[in-house]
Every structure is written in C-alpha cells, then in structure tokens.
C-alpha cells in the first residue's frame, strides 16, 4: 500500500462518513464504491465494507441509546435472525459472477438515489415561506 493510497483511503473514509451522517444512509452504500475505486474486487470490497461499517454503527448505536430511541431486545432478535440470512446472501453473492453483483450494486445505488429524492420531496413543506 503506497502513501498516496493510504491518504486517499482516509479521505474517502471521512467523506463517506460525513455524507452517510448528513443524509441518513448507511456507510456501506458508499464504502463499496470507495473500496472498488481503491482497487479491491467487488466481493472483497463488500466483505471489507461490512467490517468498515462497524465503527460507525457502534458509534451511532451509542448515540441512539442516549436519545432513548433504542429497543435492545427487538434489535437482538432482529440481529440474531439475520445471521442465517447473512450466510445465504454471502453464498449468493460469491456464487454469481462478480460483474453481475457489481451491476446489481449499481442498481441498488440508483434505488437509494430515488428513495432519497422521494423522501425529501415528501418532507418538503408545501408553502416554504409560511412559518
């Protein structure tokens, strides 16, 4: 790993984190393209992204716990039941050709973009100038 790669990785990390926090999306949607840009293959980028999101997720969970929004028992049931799904998802991703997974990821990016626009339009006040 060269110095410029390290600097680029750090910069992409900060940028992805700020954007994720600002727009309320997970880091993974940005980490995967960032890691691909850094030279990782699609599958390796995805595995690495799952590790890279953990610090953000843990910090976010800590914050939410302070705000009192967290339902820990529900979260544990949800998380534990996801484990079987994780095995299935990873098998599917590794069984498919890497370009297919990459194209599906591109579609996911479009879907999140559309979702964000929809969510923002829904929240915009109808009469912006009224108090």
């Amino acid at each position: 790993m060269t110095t410029s790669t390290i600097v680029l990785a750090l910069a992409l990390g900060v940028a992805a984190g700020v954007l994720a926090g600002l727009f309320g999306v997970g880091g993974g949607i940005l980490f995967v393209p960032a890691l691909v840009a850094l030279g990782l293959g699609q599958i390796e980028a995805q595995g690495t992204s799952l590790l890279a999101i953990l610090p953000t997720v843990l910090a976010g969970t800590w914050n939410q716990r302070r705000y009192g929004n967290l339902r820990p028992r529900t979260a544990v049931v949800l998380g534990v039941s996801s484990v079987l799904g994780v095995e299935v998802g990873a098998r599917l991703a590794t069984a498919l050709p890497e370009t297919t997974v990459r194209r599906l990821f591109a579609l996911l990016l479009f879907a999140v973009a559309v979702h964000l626009v929809w969510r923002t339009r829904r929240q915009e006040p109808r009469y912006p100038d009224s108090p």
């Binding site: 984190g17 600002l22 997970g26 949607i29 980490f31 590790l51 914050n63 529900t74 949800l78």
Partner: protein
C-alpha cells in the same frame, strides 16, 4: 415471528451487497412491525452491528475481508458520520440531498461502466 422474517430478509440483503441493510430493515420495521420511525432507525442500527459482524465472519472465511482497508476507511468514517449527523440537525438539506442523489447515480453509472 415478524421480526425473525425481517431479520432474515435484512441479513440476505446485507451480505449480498456488503451494506448494513438499514434501507430494507427500517421500512419493514415501520410497516410490518409497527415501530415508530425513530425507534426503527435506532433499533435497525443496533441489529446491523450483529448482522455486519456475522457478514464479516462469513466473508473472512472466504478470504474476502481486507482488514487494513477496513480500518483506513472505517475509522475516519465513524468520526465523519458523527460530524455529519450533527450538521444534519442544523441545515435544511433538500438541495444537498438532490446533489447527493446525483452523486449516487453517478457512482452507479461508473460501476456499470467499470
């Protein structure tokens, strides 16, 4: 049972794409499990900690996790996310959000082309 079903779907989605899966879990928690929006977001976040850990194990078993890159990208991102979510409370971000949607679409086009 509803929670287990949501967990399964979120797990498949998360591991298939290498993302947290909040984008499917949060709407399902609101619509199917009846959680209020803030509780759904917070609860999904904590569940993702478990889901992503399982994902790391499963991918690492296949030799597809680069720990150095994960640290280089993931640690500054946690600091960035704290700053980003603090700014979010203060700005009216609709124009910015459209810009971000364009950025995501551009990344999608780039991935399709590469």
């Amino acid at each position: 049972m509803r929670l287990v079903a949501i967990g399964l779907v979120a797990g498949v989605f998360s591991a298939f794409f290498g993302v947290g899966g909040g984008i499917v879990a949060v709407p399902l928690l609101i619509l199917v499990a009846g959680l209020p929006e803030r509780a759904a977001t917070a609860t999904s976040l904590m569940a993702i900690a478990i889901t992503a850990t399982a994902g790391v194990v499963v991918y690492a078993y296949r030799g597809e996790v680069d720990v150095a890159y994960a640290a280089l990208v993931g640690l500054p991102a946690a600091a960035g996310a704290l700053a980003g979510s603090a700014w979010q409370q203060r700005i009216r971000a609709s124009t910015l959000t459209y810009g971000f949607a364009v950025l995501l679409s551009a990344l999608g086009v780039w991935l399709l082309a590469s």
